[in-house]
Amino acid sequence: MINYLWGIMIVIGVVYGALTGKMADISTATINSAKEAVTLCITMLGVMSLWMGLMSVARSVGLMDKLTKMLRPVIRMLFPDLPKDHIVNEYIASNMIANILGLGWAATPVGLKAMKELAELNHHSERASCDMCTFLIINISSLQLIPVNIIAYRSQYGSVNPAEILGAGLLATIISTIVGVVFSIVARKTFKK
């Protein structure tokens, strides 16, 4: 998908630029954008490493495990049909925690493990189980405590206070997640089986 998206953006840009006589601007834009990507990554190196360092401390002092345990009743409420002591509960919880803490790279592998277990519990049917639907809707509604990337980008482009959007973002993400949760619960009852 990204293959076409990327290709089409460049083709449209160059063709449109040729029609409007902006070729010189486009030349400069290609060089400058590539350079900018690198400068941006330098800022991100700092912010990302800082965040990953902090999260590594949180993991090794046991705060991550504590959070995963705290999530257990929430998981029972969202996935009432899952066997209680099944490993899938752990996977789902770790995936949610990683997403909340903005560790997307860590969230995906464990999320896929959860999905495999859910498929097993669903007897490898081609039809998604309610648990799968709930899991993905919550995943996509994206409850996120701190959008680390956005902070890095804001600071790179000269924001006076890059963190000023945290509260507003948190409120918005809580609202979208609540809607996702309510939708999942209602849909599960409506389309049972």
Partner: protein, 175 residues
């Protein structure tokens, strides 16, 4: 609504205090853990650098050619009715498909209008509460060999659009 700004200033310092303080209380070597984790940050950033270069160049070309402006003025009459800035429509759509392509649009918006402008702040808030719907669904359901995804897409779209609407309202109220 000043409260929200107040919370924003506290989140990061509080997390540091809580995690590091907790670690010290548990008598753990927090500094070593920090350094070890920070090293992984390099890997994460280096992994995204090539995609970022590719996509930022593509968006740069689109912006320089004037095609992005043309697109947003084309949809402006539609979006002005729902009080949503037309400049952010491409972002909301692309974010559903590709996170990295959305990132380059975000950067373009920050560059054009500034991160502290209304558009910059709204962009930041929207990005905090949305996720790449189609990409995530494709990857996860492929792993489970599922073809019939039932109400997942409907739920994801409802949650995402509520998030976008909430972002507009909250940004208007807070800033």
């Amino acid at each position: 609504m000043g409260f929200i700004i107040y919370v924003s200033d506290y989140i990061i310092p509080f997390l540091f205090l809580y995690i590091i303080g907790y670690g010290l209380a548990m008598k753990k070597n927090v500094y070593d853990d920090f350094v070890k984790g920070a090293k992984d940050g390099f890997k994460v950033v280096l992994d995204i650098l090539p995609t970022l270069i590719g996509l930022m160049v593509a968006i740069g070309v689109l912006r320089a050619s004037g095609a992005l402006e043309a697109l947003s003025s084309l949809i402006a009459p539609l979006t002005s009715k729902i009080m949503f800035p037309s400049e952010l429509v491409p972002l909301v759509i692309i974010k559903m498909f590709s996170s990295s392509a959305a990132t380059s649009l975000v950067l373009d918006i920050f560059k054009e209008f500034g991160p502290d402008s209304y558009l910059g702040r709204l962009t930041s808030v929207i990005m905090s509460c949305t996720e790449t719907i189609f990409y995530t669904m494709a990857v996860y359901f492929m792993t489970a060999n599922v073809k019939k995804t039932r109400y997942t897409l409907a739920g994801a779209l409802v949650a995402t659009f509520t998030g976008v609407i909430a972002s507009v309202i909250i940004t208007n109220l807070v800033f």
